[in-house]
Amino acid sequence: MNRLPRWTASFAAIALGVAAWRCSGPSDAQRTPFTPPPRAGFEPVSDMLQARCGSLDCHGQVARNLRLYGVNGLRLLPSDLPGTEGDTTTPAEHDRDYAAAVALEPEIIDQVVREGGNDPGRLTLLRKARGTEAHVGGAVIAAGSDADRCLTSWLASAVDAGACSRGAEIARPAFP
């Protein structure tokens, strides 16, 4: 068996070393852990989003990037139907809503949460909901309203469940 020339072996060793260095990820010290808003206590936020944004004609559709599931909108299980009397939004649906909200702009939501919920208007989620950015659904959450406080309190890692509950109620005038 012929031996490789010495320069070839040296070149191969250097190439392997460079490849190993270039292909490795950042060290643990260089990694920045993702800090999303808390999943714990998200249910009232999810219920508010579902009521104001998650109807079947808006974000309760599988084609939407902010896809929201809930008892009165899109259901997760094929056996579940929207608006079923006595039914509730399932934990798995809350999980999906959380993932949808957090994954919209992970880098920005990370910054907002790290800064204690400061300047949440950096998030498209807030700007669209408030109508300060073009949104087909218009302004569905007025700045400073209960629904708005619900969202911003979640981003500050201190969910205001009362504001969420009130924010999920959309006053309906009486039929004539």
Binding site: S55, D57, L76, L77, D80, G138, F175
Partner: protein, 161 residues
Amino acid sequence: MKRLGLTTLAAGLLIGCFDPAHDDRVDALGPEAPGVPQGPLHRPGQPCTVCHGGEGPGSPTFDLAGTAFESKGQLTPLAGGTILLVDSQGRSLALGTNEAGNFWASESELGLSFPFWAAVEHGGERIEMKTPIFRARSCADCHADPAGPSSAGHVYLKATP
């Protein structure tokens, strides 16, 4: 050269006038039911504003349209019913259903702001929608048959036949 440029521009404008997504939605509705001519009684239960939403091919254009049935789980049309609509400003509109259960608000007739709420009424009975309508102009956008995870099923007056 100038002629080539003008031809390219004209072709571009022509191509730009077509919306393949809209065409697909129209095609997905299929042909007319046998024996039912185009008109107020056709295609009950289908999303009316796919064709009658201003992009064609249907005419006239509707602000809102749909079909109501007598009860959940069966397809007897609700003839002579009333669809009541009210928005958050308290403005309201009543639309009548025809023999096929179809109803519509013609272009500029709606006069309501989204979101608005709907109820179906007939013979002293009334059923109200649990959630408001945020942007759909065809009831069947959310109320198509069969009911499933992404559809509440058709609009009805009675929960039981």
